[in-house]
Symmetry: D2
């Protein structure tokens, strides 16, 4: 536990990289929502593998089957469950992992935690593949949010030591490789390509913005927007850090520099700056909610790595076989949006109780 999250809308994710299927159950969606399946597929396809030079060669239809929760394509108030069959699996690629854990992966910790009974094939329940159901849930919730005038956009803020310039706008978010600067996009892809050519991988940062939020979403203490979003975003494998607004940068500043002054624009209270990322006291200010998630480089690399044979406790060497992304970040962008959408909608339903 827990592969489920949310108090007002509840998401449960199940499946292993090489089990018969992976999937998700979403409880708490309003009845009467007609799902736009083309739009959903357009969203989920952004994380689908095998689409380009910088992602794994593993190809999956990743076509969800909705087994419950719908009537004529519309939510009926019952739990919404979708499954994705694991078609293209090569378990034999992974047989060695049971005794020779991959550095940077959960192989070792899962082996100890589950007494050797973990499903080690492809990382089992810890595989990045489990972000597919997350994106199905998120893609649906995004449609609900849109009907409320709330949109979620993201960009690749950095890959390795290459950072994007300028400010994230919706126009940016729609790009296949979402960066403001196309030149930096070029450099980032070169960075990924060079890592790949050396059998290596590279990390990066995704920046996400939620626009159109009402003022007053989020709750004190442990249900603030930061807590809610962090709680889900850290559910995405490889995320090792998160910051809101200017985040870590704020720790270097003076209060007089960091505080966002209030002003009135068009009869509405806004802040002149948005260093707080649209969140004060855990509650939305009505300004864009901004956060960044740091992804470590894909631990799966083709280079020879040092490990330990768990059966004999002797040193061992390992080369990760199978297919993997030299950089997970581009495919992680929709996952971050999905996580943000679910956190925001859960907070919205909490908010809705009192208005």
């Amino acid at each position: 536990m827990a592969s489920s999250i949310g108090s007002n809308i509840k998401l449960t994710i199940f499946g292993q990289s090489h089990s018969a299927a992976i999937g998700m159950t979403l409880e708490g969606l309003p009845a009467g929502i007609r799902i736009d399946f083309d739009k959903l597929e357009a969203f989920t396809s952004r994380r689908a593998p095998g689409k380009n030079a910088y992602s794994t060669a593993r190809k999956e239809a990743d076509k969800p089957e909705f087994v419950s929760g719908l009537r004529d394509g519309t939510t009926c108030g019952a739990p919404l469950t979708a499954i994705i069959r694991n078609t293209d699996t090569r378990s034999n690629d992974y047989s060695e992992l049971k005794v020779l854990p991959r550095p940077g992966h959960a192989d070792y910790t899962a082996s100890v935690k589950y007494g050797g009974f973990q499903d080690y094939a492809g990382g089992g329940h810890f595989s990045g593949r489990l972000t597919a159901p997350l994106c199905i849930a998120g893609g649906i919730v995004l449609q609900v949010l849109e009907s409320l005038g709330i949109t979620v956009i993201s960009r690749i803020a950095s890959i390795g030591d290459v950072s994007d310039d300028g400010e994230l706008l919706e126009s940016t978010a729609n790009k296949p490789f979402p960066t403001v600067s196309d030149e930096k996009a070029q450099k980032m892809q070169e960075c990924i390509a060079s890592a790949k050519s050396e059998g290596d991988s590279v990390g990066g940062i995704v920046e996400c913005k939620v626009l159109g939020l009402p003022i007053g979403l989020g709750d004190p203490m442990f249900d603030g927007m930061e807590n809610r979003i962090a709680n889900i975003v850290f559910g995405i494998p490889a995320v090792k850090g998160i910051e809101f607004g200017i985040g870590f940068e704020a720790s270097k500043l003076r209060g007089s520099q960091n505080n966002d002054p209030f002003e009135v624009v068009d009869g509405k209270v806004v802040t002149t700056t948005n260093n707080c990322g649209g969140i004060l006291g855990g509650i939305t200010t009505g300004m864009p909610l901004v956060f960044r998630a740091a992804f470590k480089p894909t631990p799966s690399i083709s280079q020879k790595q040092h490990s330990v044979r768990l059966d004999s406790l002797t040193e061992g060497e390992l080369v990760v076989k199978g297919r993997h992304d030299p950089c997970i970040v581009p495919r992680a962008v929709p996952c971050v949006e999905a996580a943000a959408a679910i956190a925001v909608y859960d907070a919205y339903l909490e908010y809705k109780k009192y208005i």
Copy 2:
């Protein structure tokens, strides 16, 4: 909601900066724990105000009264509740806040969320003062963890642009101003003093380590150690970012640099490096669990700030009266330890079900 957290051990925090009392209820502690009250007071006093040049002049006995959950100073299995009376309150200092929100505080968002019924005095339930009950809960849980061989240590990693050097050790954590480098401690305190002299404030970073953890704590997806810790740490006012292991730094690296190779030392599996901060797949590796929390500068500053009169929607200027810390970071150190302790113990109880 929610001022409560935890699934195995449940913490509920109540109170406002100027209500009759603040306090906490802790459910799920084992029966039979004899609380060392001197030790607890030593811990909570680390966050108590009014102790030195760089903290608010507000003085509070901050002496908790345990009204339930104990028999002869020992936990009896019933919910443990402690209250702290708010003695030294000056509500009149804050009367203006209802209409003229302080930049960087929750005054405005709370006002909208609660329709003007929020308790604005001293920030009400959003006040940093609410970390006092957090520290009572954490201080008790720390004693339980110690009996399990688990210890939590911290240091001030940076204040403004002054960063500490070297590595955090237990010896460091015991210092009144916990930094490895005394020279840097000096510089940090100068940084705080200079901010204060200008009626300003400054932010910083707290680094925390959990030592002696068993392998296998933490759960997949949304209950990983990162999720669990972030979920509580963001409950501390002014935290705007968190990272685990080398965190954001990892996003710049190659997999070959970031992966922590496994090796055998004294017949035990360890990692040569600890870039992952002792967490793989959300599960503890047995190496030290390491994270850093970024604190924004105290939003309360004596300088004149720009704001808006909520009653007339006209621009207004404001000088924050009352007493406030030029830098919250030194007093935040035990709060971070308390948050970590609660998250870790909650994960430990989850782990305990299966061993």
Copy 3:
């Protein structure tokens, strides 16, 4: 765990019969509710001890102190916490209980569960005294429900083998000894008196109705109104059974007898009968929600009882000293209403998310 309940409104109850105080924290109340304290006291006084011939002689001011969650007597959105000091305690009455458990009480099970560390005085956290905070919470929630047009009424349906006649109406609920038939009330009180005179006690049944409910409250499966109400009502000590509508009686009937036909009255859909107790599929029909809770006789009796000395595992005899009710039912009436109110309001907030 758990002395807390509710997913939308969260109630946490703390304290022991003889701890410094007992109390409750209520999270999730809307901000802006002006509490009518006289009305609240009128409600809670219905369960207060020492008021008449058939209740314990223990006298308690039972005056709650609201330490947080209010500003000028109005809810402010922060957790609402009230404590009641335990003034009139006589721990010495109970010293023997640690080794000689009272039949019918939790003394023995708590002793095993908590390894002898339980607070045995007066039953500790298991004491009926803990229904006082339940009634504070319930009394406040009842005021909120009233503003929504929802009222909760109850009667004493039976004491021992004396059952009330007729149908529960609001007029009945307002009586000091709430029964439809005053003659039966007389008989019930005689039944209690005769039990008391023999140093014995007697049980009974409380019937509760919730009026003015919207259609659609309650959720499928495990959050149906039956589940929600049962979950809280069994939190009242001595409750050993609950039934909804005609309950157990329905098990004897044919479907053609038990089904409630639908009809249209004044353009509204209603059921001709209400055997289902206003609940179909766990969801309110708009008809009165009806349930009955069965209370066992107070286990504390003055007669000599057979028990076991836990220290020597030898047979022992015991006479329960201290003060106790010959029949808990009359004082339990408001407790049942409080439980119903909290369950209903929690369901209402869930319902509110989607309208």
Copy 4:
């Protein structure tokens, strides 16, 4: 919400009577449990329809497909998900239900709650069919409990006005029609047959016992064994009442009659009688845990019933087509056992944290 339950082991049930599939996800099972699938099928087949004279003619393979959570038939620590395809569906049987709700069913309340978007076919998510996944979950948990020496047995205590005699023993529970008295079994089946012959249905009571429980399971207040079991048992459609030990009967007794004296047998503390049903203060005494659940008669009957046309708000008459059980009780027996098993195991995991 909520079609999920449990805090230590989490069960989520999804599906509608006529959706592509129904199923369940079980989180929190220990890794390393080898599931005995034959045993599981033997258990689930006890609720399978179409097996005899007194159950619906609807035939379902009801063969679960385990899509995740297993590796080589053994739990791997990941969420366990099983789906059952809905093969033999006849939606057209139900087309009328959208506007003409069946008395005693959730058709009307669901229609209002979900604004007409509910899946009305066969009762949708409210169908008794959803007890199939409950039995899969329960059947697996029963195997885990058995490994702990805990067994769950049940009998049909009554059908209509025919009550069983004698005491429930394991030998009874193994009968195809589980009653102590074979003569009463005969009478009960005649009662069902006569109801069926008249196009009617009949209700009944299931008695359940949990044997081999350790002392100390269950928690104070809202997590007592009564609360935990009631909370799940009311998730079974048609349950309208529950009682523990002698339940409602206790309300008629004196304390001196109802209290269970303690005595020492073979050096162990036991109670001479077990009126409390093995639960004191919500905590198990080590004696058999006993409860009874009252089932209303199947609301689906072939007789003409009075209802209302929701589209025109005019009176209407209805004859329930489709296939239905004249008495749900025999098939409900394993459902009650499943519910009890899940509640008990959830309490066991809570208990396990502290031993």
